[in-house]
């Protein structure tokens, strides 16, 4: 491979579009938000940049730290479930026949073709009291009840007087289910990319040398797939942490996540400087997560040497 220093014009040409994009649409706006986070409101629409630390002092009030903590554990739980569900799926796809792989991957990506909002509303129709899950369960209940009646056990009412629908919507379960559903593909794709490249002879060697299937999975496959696992965790955890639509639509009266608080600062609260400070606090939490990743990656690199 050529050294980029030897071909600077080529490098510059290829590098320019991406860096211009990144600067114009990410770094500069982010800079504005950062500057605004040190401002204060001087009127209804006027913001004075006074380099005050007040907004940041407000963000570390207990209430906001509590909300961030809640956001972190909801996101962590959703990420964990994504990993548990996503790993077998990615594993199965990478071991599927070659002609099936594109189709299976398509199935994973398919939900992206539909707007997030519409998918979330679809979940409402699935989870609500008179929704598809409860209709399905009610049907099963009726069948079971009929079987019991047929068996002469009707008088005992073993299944209760009537079907009690489950409360699936407007609670933390719905939020975690919604986040898992939305972000699962972000876990499956990096896992698949790593598992696909995995050298199968390691698995054969492990099995040939007498390791059990489980032992092979835990001691051979999982460590080799670690880069994919870490990427997947980051790709799921970070957007979960900032999500506001899912808790807004699926959550109950205490579903508020930090994303909802930030959204309100820019809309009904009309307090952009504080919203900017909260956004940056969230970003620092995210940087923390990335630092952990590079720490892990560094340790792994150290082991390989």
């Amino acid at each position: 491979m050529d050294d980029w220093k030897a071909k600077k014009p080529v490098f510059a040409t290829l590098f320019a579009p991406g860096s211009v994009w990144l600067t114009a649409f990410f770094l500069i706006p982010l800079g504005f938000v950062w500057v605004m986070s040190f401002g204060e409101k001087s009127g209804i629409i006027d913001i004075v940049i006074s380099w005050t630390p007040d907004n940041y002092l407000r963000t570390i009030e207990t209430i906001y730290l509590q909300i961030i903590w809640k956001s972190v554990w909801i996101s962590a739980l959703a990420t964990g479930i994504c990993l548990l569900l996503g790993f077998p799926v990615a594993f199965a796809i990478s071991f599927a026949r070659d002609r099936w792989k594109p189709i299976l991957l398509l199935v994973v990506i398919l939900p992206f073709w539909i707007n997030l909002l519409i998918r979330t509303y679809a979940l409402i129709a699935v989870f609500r009291t008179r929704g598809h899950v409860n209709f399905g369960l009610e049907w099963l209940w009726e069948q079971a009840d009929a079987v019991l009646a047929w068996a002469g056990l009707a008088g005992y009412r073993l299944l209760g007087e009537r079907f009690e629908p489950l409360t699936l919507l407007y609670n933390d379960f719905a939020v975690i289910a919604g986040l898992t559903y939305v972000y699962l593909p972000f876990m499956v794709l990096p896992l698949y990319a790593t598992l696909e490249r995995l050298d199968r002879s390691f698995i054969e060697a492990s099995l040939d040398l007498g390791a059990s299937q489980m032992r092979t999975l835990v001691s051979v496959v999982a460590p080799l797939a670690m880069p994919g696992i870490v990427s997947g965790i980051i790709l799921v955890f970070i957007p979960c942490l900032g999500s506001f639509l899912t808790p807004d639509l699926l959550g109950g009266t205490n579903a508020q996540m930090i994303g909802n608080v930030i959204e309100r600062q820019f809309k009904s609260a009309n307090d952009w400087p504080f919203g900017a400070a909260l956004s940056f606090l969230l970003m620092y939490v995210t940087f923390g997560a990335l630092a952990i990743r590079s720490l892990l990656a560094g340790r792994k690199a150290g082991m390989e040497v």
Partner: protein
């Protein structure tokens, strides 16, 4: 027709909220560049399904001026989009307290009453307003109330008090409040016997504590979809805007709407011209056209909200004119208050209280 009065409806609101960012980018530049009054055009920023079916075309036929209509989902979105400068709108439709807020912030220009001859069609009751004395900056477009929508078959007695929603566990888990902080706080203040425009922190503290205590019995803070929650049986009692419930009532007579005896909120959406409007002449012509009797009747008939245009109301049938969900009795209105703009400090106090309520 099914969704004609779901101005504050569910999917649209969130959908617009999520797409408005893209819309800003698209609409930011062309209007400015074309900003010549000779241009036969007026840029109208309105709520969704909040204008007559053919009003815009009729106006074009009558005057040759083309109306370009963009939609917003709530006052906060309208305000957020105009606060950094008018992206090119000529006529906007803020609610009363936002009229006052935008006026205070210098975001509105006065309306020249001499150029609105059809103002004579407006009921005298609406020709002055506390939030805009002399109606210098705003003219009334539609008005309504906030109250309780509920399923008659699911309650032990007719609902007539905010107590049911704010201090009772009788319908635990079958009730929804709105998700806007000020709406929920203001109605709680009414129940507590305070003005909904109070600025006393102790009153807000009292309301906050009451809502936190009631929270276990509330199923959801509904993002303005109370009518859907009622229709799907998810809740039986919902805090909502009258128009949303009026629509549900036309579909199913199990549902009804009441403004509780403690009173509620009466609101007024207004036509205003934002500062920097590129076509102020056309804006005046358009506002004048809306107050035309027949044009106004066509709008009110289509969106089923209460019109302050008495000439238009006179042209409509009894099912509109005497519908109590659209036009509550005078003694009910007398107990209601309209929201005033209370300043940024009170706004912040309410928002912080709401953050604590949701986190509790």
């Amino acid at each position: 027709m099914m969704t004609r009065i779901r101005r504050r409806g569910l999917s649209r609101r969130r959908f617009l909220a999520s797409t408005s960012a893209a819309a800003v980018g698209v609409t930011l530049f062309p209007y400015r560049a074309l900003g010549q009054e000779a241009e036969k055009r007026v840029n109208f920023y309105n709520w969704d399904t909040y204008i007559g079916e053919t009003t815009l075309d009729d106006f074009k036929t009558a005057t040759g001026i083309e109306v370009q209509m963009d939609l917003f989902a709530d006052n906060d979105e309208l305000f957020a989009k105009l606060r950094e400068g008018n992206p090119g709108y000529d006529v906007i439709v803020p609610t009363n307290d936002f009229v006052e807020r935008m006026k205070t912030a210098g975001m509105l220009v006065p309306i020249d009453h001499d150029r609105i001859p059809n103002m004579s069609n407006i009921s005298p009751l609406f020709l002055d307003a506390e939030f805009d004395p002399g109606r210098e900056f705003s003219l009334p477009y539609m008005w309504g109330t906030m109250g309780i929508g509920y399923n008659r078959n699911a309650v032990s007695a007719p609902v007539d008090s905010w107590k049911v929603l704010y201090e009772s566990d009788e319908y635990s888990g079958r009730m929804s409040l709105l998700s806007e902080s000020s709406d929920v706080m203001q109605m709680c203040l009414k129940y507590l016997g305070h003005s909904l425009n109070t600025t006393d922190p102790a009153h807000y503290k009292q309301a906050e504590e009451m809502i936190i205590a009631q929270k276990p019995h509330i199923k959801v803070f509904a993002p303005d979809n109370g009518q859907d929650l009622l229709a799907s049986g998810e809740v039986d009692i919902a805090q909502e805007w009258n128009g949303d419930i009026a629509q549900l009532m036309t579909e199913d007579d199990a549902f009804t709407y009441v403004v509780p005896k403690e009173g509620g909120l009466v609101w007024q959406d207004c036509l205003c011209i934002p500062t920097g409007a590129p076509h102020p002449d056309n804006a005046h012509a358009f506002i004048n056209y809306i107050f035309d009797a027949e044009a106004g009747a066509a709008i009110a008939d289509f969106i089923q909200y209460a019109t302050p245009n008495q000439a238009a109301r006179a042209l409509l049938g009894d099912d509109y004119k005497t519908n109590p969900a659209i036009f509550p009795p005078d003694e009910v209105i007398a107990k209601c208050e309209s929201a005033l703009y209370l300043g940024e400090d009170v706004n912040r106090m309410i928002e912080e209280a709401w953050t604590r309520i949701e986190a509790a």
